[in-house]
Structures are given as C-alpha cells and as structure tokens.
C-alpha cells in the first residue's frame, strides 16, 4: 500500500503529439481513483506513465516515498490488469499467476500458497488452474488477470479498461467483484474506463480527462451535482444532461429559454441580466408539476424501459431536444403536453464560450 502523487505530469509522444497537458493529483493510501473520459483523451497514457511503460516528459510521479520517473516497471511495486488481459498463452493459469513470484525468487511452497489463496478469492477451481488461458471463457480470463495482479501483493493496482471485453451482464458482476476486492485488500488503485457508470460506482474519486487536460477531479457526487464544465456535465450521468441556449432574465433571477419559457434561479450572484448562457438540466430533474404558469414540454417520443420511462420532447418553439426521466411507466403519448418544473438547485449554467460553470 502506498500513496501516489502525480505532479505537473506531461506527455509528449516521440511524434510530437502532446497527449497529457499537465496533471496533478494526490492519491491517498487505499484510495480508488478512476480516470474517465472519451476515447483518445489520454487515460491510458497517464496510467502507463504510472506503470513505467511510457516515459514521463515533464513532472514527477511518486509512489510511496520514491520518485519513480526513472524506475523500471518491475521496480515500482505495481501490478496492472490489461484490457486484453495479456495472459501468457503458453503457460497454465497457475504459471501465469506464479510468473512474477518466481522471478522474485519466492519459494515453491509460498508461491503455491499465494496462488491458491488468490484462486479462492476469485473462485477459480484447481482444475482451471491447470488449463491454458485459451481454454477459459472471457470472464475467467479476466479473473486470472486479476489473480496475477493480486498474488504479487503490490502497493498499487492499475487497471486499463479491464471490463470492456466482457458482455454487459458479466461486466456488472465483475464490477461489483472488483469493488469488493479493492475494499477487502485496501490496495491503492487507479482505474481507467470510458464507461461513466463504472466510474461512478467504483471510484472514491473521479478524474475526468478531456484531450489531455483535467476537466474536474472530485467524488462521484460532486461531479454529478456540481459539474465544473459543460463537458463533465454531459459526460457524467445517464441519460446525459439536456443543454439549451438561454439568456439570463432582466431581473437576473430567472433564465429565459428561446421558446418564451422562463425558469426561476436561486439567489447566487454574478449573473448580469441579458447574458447568454448554456442551461443544463438533468433528465431526472424535470419533475412533473400541477401548478399554473409552468413550462410545458411537448412530447415527441416515449421510451418505456420498465423501471423508468424516457420522454423526448421540446419546449415551445425551441428546437433543442429534451430528455426527461420519469419513474415507473407513464401514460404520456406523443403530442401531449408535460407540465414540469425544476428545483432551482438543479439548474446548471455554463459559459457558452469557455464551457465553465457559472
């Protein structure tokens, strides 16, 4: 176990492409941090720098007390689970897990003991330990890859999209298992994913990356409730947040939609009247209401998901497509009007140019 400190880390690839533009984060002992962002934003690059598989162009990475910038992966006391598992195809499952221990010169008895323990935790039978990786299912291979990381008892776990090759059901199951395992072993972990559900459920803290920049760093709830930018707001939450162009009302305490609808804001300042903004509302916050003088959504399409209903529609003449999430099944049909209100605390305003939260 160790803390990880990443300070001003940048990465420029040999071809001149700058993949990481300066990342800072202190990861506490036993903390589970998730790096999340769209494809190509530099998640793997950052993780691989921590692993020692890519050189650090600028900044420092510290694991425990040591600066590891110039250390080989082997000397960093880390274990990594790869997206394609990277199991050694010519070795049995047992030997796959034992490989790193043998290299460290551990005794046969202790190796057998550790592999046995890991196999138990991961529910791999002793018969499966004798098989080759290609004789296992995808989920079992995933477990072996986890096992190979566990037996080493490293101070940091690194995961690079370990679940993305599994089917949806297995993914949920393994997600829960990884979470339990990490809590049980208490090993500092950095986990890369582009799946926001995985990110929200697994991480103590999330780091949202966008084109090599940190958009926001915080707990899942902070990111959900107070997204620092339109990018984070759109990325976190499913279905994603509705955005529309709007303008602050004349009094500075309302926000006016182009369709003539106006919504009350809560009392914070800094909102000069007439300023153009991007208004964000989460689908689950457009609540039904019966009061008069409320915004009404014209329903275009209804999706019944069983537990929830998704309603797609628009306000008045505004073209922007809005999604509403209602609990249970709804009797609304296309063409109906859905009168709704939003708690002012759930309105998010962003600057149209910078995308930052106002």
């Amino acid at each position: 176990m160790a803390q990880v400190e990443i300070k001003g880390v940048e990465k420029v690839y040999p071809n001149g492409f700058k993949a990481i533009h300066g990342v800072d984060i202190d990861i506490a002992e036993g903390e589970f941090v998730v790096l999340v962002g769209p494809s190509g934003c530099g998640k793997s690059t950052l993780l691989r720098m921590v692993a020692g598989l890519e050189r650090v162009t600028a900044g420092t990475i510290r694991i425990g007390e040591r600066v590891v910038n110039d250390l080989e992966p082997a000397q960093r006391d880390i274990a990594m689970v790869f997206q394609n598992y990277a199991l050694y195809p010519h070795m049995s499952v047992f030997n796959n897990m034992a490989y790193g221990l043998k290299i460290r010169g551990m005794s046969k008895a202790e190796i057998a003991d550790r592999v046995q323990k890991a196999a138990e935790i991961l529910e791999l039978s002793s018969e499966q330990l004798t098989r080759r990786p290609n004789q296992l299912s995808g989920g079992q291979r995933q477990r072996v890859a986890m096992g190979r990381a566990i037996v080493r008892e490293p101070s940091v776990f690194l995961f690079d999209e370990p679940l993305s090759n599994l089917d949806a059901k297995l993914r949920v199951q393994m997600r829960v298992e990884i979470k339990k395992l990490q809590e049980r072993l208490g090993i500092t972990s950095i986990y890369v994913t582009h799946d926001q559900v995985e990110a929200m459920t697994l991480g103590h803290r999330l780091m949202v990356l966008n084109e090599g920049n940190v958009e926001q760093l915080g707990t899942p709830i902070e990111l959900y409730e107070k997204p620092a930018s339109q990018f984070v707001a759109g990325f976190i939450g499913s279905p994603s947040m509705n955005f529309m162009d709007a303008r602050i009302g004349a009094g500075g305490d309302t926000v006016e939609l182009p369709g003539g609808v106006s919504l009350p804001l809560d009392g914070a300042g800094g909102r000069e009247p007439g300023r153009a903004v991007v208004l964000g509302i989460r689908p689950e916050h457009l609540e039904a209401t019966t009061g008069s003088d409320v915004a009404s959504l014209r329903v275009d399409l209804v999706e019944l998901l069983g537990a929830d209903t998704l309603i797609h529609g628009h306000f008045g003449d505004d073209k922007a497509d809005m999604t509403v999430r209602l609990q249970g099944t709804s009797t609304l049909r296309p063409g109906d009007l859905y009168p709704c209100a939003v708690d002012p605390a759930h309105l998010h305003l962003f600057d149209p140019d910078s995308g930052r939260r106002i």
Binding site: P73, P89, Y99
Partner: protein, 294 residues
Amino acid sequence: MLKRVHFPPSVLPYLLVAPQVAITIVFFIWPASQALYQSLLLEDAFGLSTKFVWFENFTALFSDDQYLDAFKRTFVFSLSVAVVSMSAALLLAVMADRVIKGTTAYRTLLIWPYAVAPAVAGALWMFLFDPTLGIVAYVFDMLGYTSWNFRLNGNEAMVLVVLAAAWKQISYNFLFFLAGMQAIPKSLIEAAAIDGAGPGRRFWTIVFPLLSPTTFFLLVINMVYAFFETFGIIHAVTKGGPAKATEILVFKVYNDGFVGLDLGSSAAQSVILMAIVIGLTVIQFRYIERKVEY
C-alpha cells in the same frame, strides 16, 4: 471447420488448374518416375546394355560405408546450417525489433543476401577465406592461426561451407522471425516487464516459446534447404573435397551419376533424397497446424 461452398459443376475449374497440373507432370512427376525407374536398372560401364535388377542399387547403397558416411555428413551439415543461420537471424531480428530509427533501411539491407545466387555466394566466401588470397585468411594469419587451409583440412572446409550456406539463408529466417515477433502482442511483453522480468528473461520465457511454431517451421525449411539447395555453394567452394569431407548427399548424386556415370546408383540416391524431402514436408504440414493462440 470451414464450410465448403458448393458451385454447380463446370469445366472451368479444371481448365484453370490444367496449366499447373501440366507443369507438375512435365517437370516433376515425369522426371521423378524416370528416376524411380532408373534406380531399378544397372547399366554397364560403357552404357551399352542395361539390366533390370530390382532393388539391388538400394541394397548396395546401404551396405556402402561411403554412402552411410555421406548420410551422416549431410545430417551434421544441415543441422549446423540450420542452427547457425537461425541463431544469427534470431539475433538480428531481436535487434531489428528494437531499432527505432532507419527501420526500413536496416531491414531491407538484411534481406539482400537472399538475392545472391548460391554459386555466387559460394565464390564470395571462397575468396574471403582463400588461404593465399583471402582477406579473412590474412586476418587469421595475423592472429597467429597460420595453418588455415580449407583446401587441405576437411573440418575447416566443412566450417566454411556451413558458414556460406547459413549466411545465404539468414535473410529468409530473419524475415520470418521478425514477423513472428511482431505478431506477439506488445502487452504480453509489458505484462512480463511489470511482473519483474528483465529483457533477457522476457526473451527466453515469453518471446522464444511463443516463436516456437516459427522456429519449427524454419528448422524444417532450413534442413530442406541445406539438403538440396546448397549444391551450388559446395560446388563453388570445395567440390565436395578435400577427400569427400564436404560431399553431402546431393553432391554425391551428382558425383556418382554425372562424374562417375553410375546412373543406377545415382538414381537410387535421388529416390532416397526424394523420400526424405517428402518425409520432411509431411512433418511440416502435420505440425504447422499447431499454432499458438494469443
């Protein structure tokens, strides 16, 4: 299993394979059958009469110590060629895999020897090592090894033809090893590095085992090459000498048949060679299926 696609019967496929079949018959089946037939005949020394003697040529061969020696020699020769050539190629491939700048130039240069004709390669090596003219012999001289003379010393002659034959095959082996190494997912090597294996250990425990199908394939190919395609090199460098020290089977076929004019025995020897190559090919096809999956 692949599913077979069925087409309605037509003569077109037969027409399309006809040229191939014709070539095979004219250039392979027919001469092979002639050799087979000839191997059962005994011809007198002046070529005036022939006699059908069944397998006498074969039994004579297998009780001939010289032939058995040639067999052993051929085996030693081909195994040495395969080992020398493959080790050198593997080393070059490992290094080429690490090269970052000038990759294409490096690789292209390494492929050139393959384009050199065997006889030319032989002549090249012969001149390099020539006891009186050769630059390498000169270096040997300076280093105090003055007795170098492959024209007199059988072992030295063998070393020289092995080197020449192996050199020519390095390019071919190099290409296969390089392709084999590049087919190994990079993440496996990275996983091993994280597991704590240094470069040497990664090579011997991960890369080399995963290359084993390639290695096996190349071993057979190199053996076949050394058995059959090194005639030009041997002819140019040693002519089988000194005192038959480098006379491998193919060379003996030529020597006995075209120099010694013992056509029956020579034909019997080629039939045996044919059997060997067929055997090697069968092994090749049987085991090449067992590929490693990543």
